[in-house]
């Protein structure tokens, strides 16, 4: 910083410069908010047109026959359920390892680094990967393949949040447990994890929110289906994101309306999960930082 800049003669000019930049940056924030509002407004406007009870009770049908998204919604619930059932314990175990066992060791640092990369890696590649190692050997698309792909996407999110949350647990808890003669496993499972359980749960909710909207990995794994599926181990299964993708790229206005209704459902579902998890995270960590 040059001395000239601090010359009182330049005082007004500098104050104006500061004010202008503050305005510009406020405008930047407004741009972000405008796009958020614009997208949500579009969803409400176009989504409510196709929304109705039939969306939740009827399966997808050929154009001109009406139909809803019931099979896609149930398919999504099943696959997200599988993804969470596999991804949550795995992610929690990784997070616990990083925070309670590995600490700052070389191996833990490597795991942390790779986990951070998986966190932002293109989800479409996870789909290709699962296609090659599960869909091809099993000779067909299946809900279980879709669920496993989603699990791989949920794992890094949950691992990251779990580690961050466990680090907020005061060391005094661990020392107290040790002083009572508890083993490491008892300290972790009976003292540290329960103390942070609210936070870990919100991490799982965040991961559920993220995988609920994932489309690309499901193209290669559960593929999508206009009908109900009778098995999770064989045969393609519908999901809400894939249904939206297929309906929205069709030339039938009726289908596009249904796609908007689906987009409305999924976006507000995901946003609700997101806000709920942020609020509960704020409550769970209050006074810990």
């Amino acid at each position: 910083m040059s001395i000239a800049a601090l010359n009182p003669a330049n005082h007004l000019r500098r104050r104006i410069g500061d004010f202008v930049m503050a305005i510009v940056c406020t405008a930047a924030a407004l741009i972000g908010l405008v796009f958020l509002a614009w997208i949500l407004w579009t969803l409400i406007q176009r989504g409510t047109a196709g929304l109705g009870l039939h969306v939740f009770t009827e399966q997808m049908k050929t154009p001109g026959q009406g139909g809803g998204l019931a099979n896609a919604i149930v398919g999504s619930l099943i696959q997200v359920g599988i993804g969470t059932l596999i991804g949550a314990p795995l992610g929690m175990a990784v997070g616990i390892y990083l925070s309670e066992v590995g600490h700052k060791g070389k191996f833990a640092s490597l795991v942390r680094f790779v986990n951070d990369i998986l966190l932002s890696a293109p989800s479409i590649l996870v789909g290709l990967f699962i296609y090659q190692i599960i869909v091809v050997p099993m000779r067909g698309f299946s809900a279980i393949a879709g669920g496993i792909a989603l699990a791989l996407l949920a794992m890094p999110v949950i691992a990251r949040v779990t580690e961050d949350i466990l680090k907020l647990v005061p060391d005094a808890y661990r020392e107290g447990s040790m002083a009572l003669g508890a083993r490491d496993s008892t300290t972790v499972t009976r003292v540290v994890v329960p103390a942070a359980f609210g936070g870990i749960l919100t991490g799982i909710l965040l991961a559920v929110a993220r995988i609920s909207g994932e489309t690309a990995p499901l193209i290669f794994t559960s593929f999508g289906n206009f009908n109900w599926s009778d098995s999770i181990f064989s045969g393609p299964m519908a999901s809400l994101p894939i249904a939206i993708y297929r309906l929205a790229s069709s030339p039938y206005p009726e289908w596009v309306d249904l796609a908007w209704a689906g987009a409305l459902i999924i976006t507000f579902g995901v946003l609700a999960l997101n806000i709920a998890s942020r609020v509960s995270l704020a409550l769970a960590t209050r006074g810990r930082k």
Binding site: D18, E100, F107, I117, S120, P122, P156, Y245, S249
Partner: protein, 325 residues
Amino acid sequence: MSVASEASMHKPIEGSAKFQLGEFLFKGVLFTAATIVIVTLVAILLILFSAGKGAFEHFGPAFIWLNQWDPVRDLYGALPAIVGTIATSLIAILIAWPIGFGIAYFLTETCPRVLRQPLGIAVELLAAIPSIVYGMWGFFVLAPVLSTTVQPWLTEATMWIPPIGYDFFWFQGAPIGVGLFTAGVVLAIMILPFIAASSRDVLLTTPQLLKDGGYAMGSTRWEVLTNIVIPAVRGSLFGAVFLGLGRALGETMAITFVIGNANRLPDSFFAPSASIASIVANEFPDADQGSLKLAALFALGFILFLVSFFVLAIARLLLRQERMA
């Protein structure tokens, strides 16, 4: 943090084999989970390569720079997809970087304190909207708006720029809405929350004492930012941009809707094009098991994986550097 492990070393050995086995299993399970993280990354790399090997063997390394994508004659090359991927990502970064940084500065310095958290969450919610919804909104809402407003204006304003290279006409294409430019704009909105949130976190790491020193000398907030904060955390700020870039490169569904899906080199920023991810998502349903086309799609996936890996690795190293300091 290392209390647990240190304490266990000095703990008197409790004789029962059951005790030892229990602890061993407990640590073993956690260690296995941690190993799965690394195995996943390596396995994705190996599987993508082995499934795409056919294309590299058939076309040689030239697959990467061959300018062709003709499923009818079974000729494949990655150049159009790579150009589309890089062009859309760069447009996105050029738009999202300044805006994202502006948001970060706003949220850390100029925004009224009570509004900081709600506004921060609102911006981050942009990241929660599913990619497919961005795609639909981009295709049905944004593209028509851009084609009647921004695109004709850009065409008018850049008329004087001469075409370059293989006749690339900058912004002179027909304003049809879908294409590289619209894809870049949609991507920019999508990566904005990532750049804004990580830039904000980086700005917050600057020690208050350094900033107070600047204020004590009579500096304004903007002067403290440009003369003290930015020099202190420059590396991490680049990390935030690389993080956004890493996200942009692999984005699939939104791009598939708005890029136009033309598998050739674009002749302007308004031309329909394709990215690696959009080609893979679009053409996969028509690619038969064991075909050269499927191998070419996997080879594209492998290239995308390598590029995103390096970009994300740089991002993490830059972001971590500052955290240690």
